[in-house]
Symmetry: none
Subunit: 239 residues, 2 copies
DNA sequence: GCGGTCTTCTGGTCTGACCAGTTTCGCGGT
DNA sequence: ACCGCGAAACTGGTCAGACCAGAAGACCGC
């Protein structure tokens, strides 16, 4: 026979799994408030730090949420919290730029197609506001990187598929980290905003294929500028 | 205009995301030991409880592991461990499952197209071996879940795009738990293996569109069986 | 009844202490 | 010079007690 590895579980983990078990058995339903930490101390006969670390585990797993002054509540599972963009980012962290671009081309056009079909006026209004903020930042000579990225993410979010939107955000964050030095210089920034506007109008008009096509071309174009910038930078470095 | 919800992040969360960022930027690589808690106190100017809760967050996500007396170590990032399907999976509701399926439909057919174009004989040989192991496990009445999942992941990996393969694995890790609970019973498992074989042959023949089409149909079919199973499960619960 | 204040309660944080393992290092014997 | 052993230092795990800021609820005067 083979041996089982000895599991030396901390008290915090034991408390966490015990609480999780009770949540699963519907002792507390979504929306309910858990007993305050100072009560759990007595019932479980452990220190408060142990209780807090146990609750931290459940909070990290998006099973509960703590609010100072109110209490700790059992959460309803929500799709945008199943996947976290920073965690996905960690998994694909060592990817090369080309792979990121390719993955983006797989996801984003499809997401935008769905956005054309499912996007609500509220979501469109939010994106429009984002574009205005983007323009304001551009005119004020502030960084527009966040706005440009968020445009694409919100467009994907309008597909009502948070999984796709989250994965796209992970990709864009990593892409931005690799190329932010390059795109700054040119008058590319104005063209970028203009293209975003065009894409948005096509989506709002629910012009599915035109929007997807235009978007794909937009992605390829910015990548081309990026490669151009990268190569000229390499030449400069080599000299 | 509508307001954005105020995000009040605790110091523990800020510390955690700061540490996560440094791990992602390779300040510490997998296997490395993090500075001891009492040193992080000084560098981050927070109390030890805050440090400990931050590390607890990272430990829950399986990004680091703490060993009493030794220290806290960075772990190799693996989708299966970071996403914790064992716990999160139980909280996935039907709406989330559909989003995951939809995201899968965005990525996998595209990845398989690339696999047809770029897959090497070594990669195909590996997949073939996987299929044989799958069959052996099936005949021995062992769990085939890992094999079925890994087939799809390796197929995507043959696209030479690790980003797509990693994202697909993440999706499958999250859907598997639930799906296999429902699909386990039927004679579906033999049909699944057979379809995997067909897909593989089309890929090896580098028959791009046929492979992508067959794969998409395979995904939709299993989803249909899955939905069927889900609905009968609901009816049973309702009675 | 209503509005405002005061108390109480909640989670968030810090400090300092102790425990039980692990690691490190130096001392003593060979 | 080498080895072995034990003490000391160090690490994460836990507890206790304190204080804070914000939220909730009770109370009181109007």
């Amino acid at each position: 026979m083979d041996f089982q590895p000895i599991v030396k579980s901390t008290s915090a983990q034991q408390v966490a799994s015990q609480l999780l078990d009770m949540i699963r058995r519907q002792v507390w339903k979504p929306g309910d408030r858990l007993p305050p930490e100072r009560q759990l101390i007595e019932k479980l006969a452990v220190g408060r730090s142990t209780i807090r670390e146990a609750l931290q585990i459940l909070a990290t797993l998006n099973i509960v949420q703590s609010n100072a002054g109110q209490g700790t509540f059992v959460k309803e599972p929500r799709s945008e919290e199943i996947l976290r963009s920073d965690i996905i980012g960690l998994l694909i962290n060592n990817a090369v730029a080309l792979e990121l671009l390719e993955a983006r081309q797989m996801i984003e056009p499809q997401a935008v197609r769905l956005a054309c079909l499912r996007g609500t006026v509220e979501q469109f209004a939010r994106i429009e506001r984002l574009l205005e903020d983007h323009e304001a930042a551009l005119k004020a000579n502030l960084s527009t990187r966040e706005y440009a990225r968020e445009f694409h993410v919100q467009l994907a979010a309008a597909s009502h598929n948070q999984v796709a939107a989250t994965m796209l955000r992970s990709i864009l964050v990593l892409t931005d980290e690799r190329q932010h030095r390059i795109l700054g210089a040119a008058g590319f920034k104005y063209r970028e905003l203009e293209e975003h506007r065009q894409i948005f109008e096509l989506v709002r008009a629910r012009n599915v294929e035109a929007a997807a096509d235009y978007l794909l071309q937009h992605i390829i174009d910015s990548a081309a500028v990026y490669r151009l910038g990268y190569e000229s930078e390499r030449e400069r470095d080599a000299s």
